[in-house]
């Protein structure tokens, strides 16, 4: 697969075509699976890893009916290309930073990714735009069935699918929804929301950037429990809570529009202004400002920008993407200059529109 071509395109899940995509960025489901005849990764020898990689790669590439899956040998990639796949959410940070034989199969629409030799032998992931967990589940379930016809998964009649970490045993399912919740952050209600979610055993995580701080007001809600409930129950549990969060966020936005209109409009306009004029800008500041602008667009405060363009800017201004798009390696300082240049060129189009569509 040509990663340079991928850098210029937009993943399906960024197109903001799914339901509630003003607030819900993406719906993602992943399954953890292991082959019965090999040790888990922590005890696997290099030879085991090679053999697991070979077998799974072959079986996965057999299932594609129309040649839509492409395989990337992650162990052979340069650091920047691995980082690029992480930013694209096609592989995990752990998978990028790990060592030994490993790879990922990706479909052209970037909805499906199959990671080989991550924490488990196989991790299947399906990602859709907006709140669309049912579609993601249907797709991932089908892929799992097709692979399962060709391999013997480690499975226990009582405990279910056996995983390297007991936190994933049973269904091996992680259902997550990424939400953009800037108004709950501004109105300082986000902590309260977290506490209530933890009570119903859902996990909340910030979207992490280069540092360790949650950035851009993006939060990921996912199930913690994987055993004792069916996959559909788990999908539903996460799915049920999302409309409630969307409602909270909308109410917080309405409150801001009603009670703090000038402050809000000012914040949004200043954020937009900085992004259009800055000469050097960090990835943290970019995320923060893009988040404000994104909310502003949703509230009709900025008429000439579209959400998909903004979603794309979130991804394209991250370190590895910038370098891939520019075609050169850049240090932090040069990246900040390049990021500002990229933002100016995409937010100051003569026709008043944002980023070009691909």
């Amino acid at each position: 697969m040509d990663l340079n071509a991928l850098a210029n395109s937009t993943g399906e899940w960024l197109r903001a075509s799914g339901p509630e995509s003003d607030i819900v960025m993406s719906s993602r489901i992943r399954l953890a699976r292991n082959l019965a005849e090999f040790p888990f990764i922590s005890r696997a020898t290099d030879q085991d890893r090679n053999e697991i990689e070979r077998q799974l790669r072959e079986r996965i590439l057999q299932i594609q009916s129309s040649g839509q899956l492409q395989y990337i040998n992650v162990s052979e990639l340069e650091g920047i290309d691995r980082q690029f796949l992480v930013e694209r959410q096609l592989i995990s940070r752990e998978h990028a930073e790990s060592h030994g034989a490993r790879g990922v199969a990706i479909d052209g629409r970037e909805q499906i990714s199959l990671m080989i030799n991550e924490e488990d032998h196989l991790r299947i992931q399906c990602m859709h735009s907006g709140l669309d967990l049912a579609a993601a589940w249907e797709q991932i379930n089908q892929i799992d069935d097709l692979i399962e016809e060709r391999v013997t998964y480690a499975f226990h009649p009582r405990l279910g699918y056996l995983t390297a970490c007991p936190t994933n045993v049973g269904t091996g399912v992680r259902v997550s929804v990424m939400l953009h919740l800037p108004a709950l952050v501004i109105t300082k209600q986000i902590e309260k929301v977290f506490r209530s979610l933890q009570k119903i055993s859902l996990a909340v995580r910030g979207l992490y950037g280069e540092g360790s701080q949650a950035m851009g007001d993006f939060y990921q809600i996912s199930n913690q429990i994987t055993l004792g409930r069916t996959e559909l129950d788990l999908v539903q549990q996460v799915g049920d809570v999302v409309p409630v969060l969307i409602d909270y966020e909308r109410r917080a936005r309405e409150f801001l529009v009603r009670e703090k209109h000038e402050t809000l409009h000012d914040q949004v306009s200043r954020a937009y202004g900085i992004l259009r004029t800055a000469q050097t800008i960090s990835s943290e500041e970019t995320m923060h400002l893009l988040s404000r602008v994104r909310m502003g667009v949703n509230l009709g405060l900025i008429p000439d920008l579209a959400i998909p363009d903004l979603n794309e800017l979130f991804i394209h201004t991250q370190p590895a993407h910038l370098q891939k798009l520019r075609g050169v390696e850049l240090d932090t300082e040069d990246r900040n200059i390049e990021r500002a240049r990229y933002l100016r060129s995409h937010l100051n189009k003569p026709d008043g529109h944002g980023a070009e569509h691909n």
Binding site: E37, R43, H156, G160, A164, Q198, I225
Partner: protein, 174 residues
């Protein structure tokens, strides 16, 4: 008992048993237990995990000798010791769920609140195919035999592995 960091009930009782460190007991709520784990300096090549922390709980109420004995318990298939699992929070092979069943059961119940899977099942699975896990053991033993330069044993194991591999490949889906 209350969490040491907040007013919530402490559901996690963690005993730090690291060598050279003063033995320390921590009583934390789930949220702070997580926070504590992600803050502790990870061992090189391993990350602290919820499962690992929960396994630390087993230490509470056990004597030093009992714990030492438990820690030495090693899976006959992959060779992982309970100590290694406690440290890394990652198991070594599918057989560990059977071999360490007694130790894992309370952890699994603690994490999930349940101990029985009710979801999807593969059409064929390793339940009736113990020889699948046997492959893990034989491959490990072959590697050991080679490193001990016991080539006679290694070649016997290799033939055995081939035989089992062929068998498993031929067996149709159940």
């Amino acid at each position: 008992m209350k969490c040491q960091k907040c007013d919530k009930p402490a559901t996690f009782h963690i005993t730090e048993l690291e060598k050279g460190k003063h033995q320390q007991e921590l009583h934390l709520c789930e949220e702070h237990a997580r926070l504590y784990l992600t803050q502790t300096e990870p061992e090189p090549g391993s990350q602290p995990t919820l499962a690992g922390a929960l396994a630390q709980q087993l230490a509470v109420g056990q004597t030093a000798e009992e714990l030492e004995k438990l820690d030495k318990k090693a899976c006959p298939v992959c060779g992982i010791t309970f100590f290694e699992f406690r440290n890394q929070g990652r198991l070594g092979c599918p057989h560990d769920y059977i071999f360490f069943e007694k130790e894992l059961e309370p952890l699994i119940a603690n994490i999930h609140g349940e101990t029985a899977h009710v979801g999807k099942r593969p059409h064929r699975y390793a339940g009736g195919t113990a020889h699948k896990t046997e492959l893990i053991r034989m491959r490990r033993e072959m590697k050991e035999a080679i490193s001990e330069e016991n080539y006679e044993r290694a070649s016997r194991l290799r033939d055995e592995i081939r035989r089992v591999e062929e068998q498993t490949q031929q067996s149709p889906p159940e």
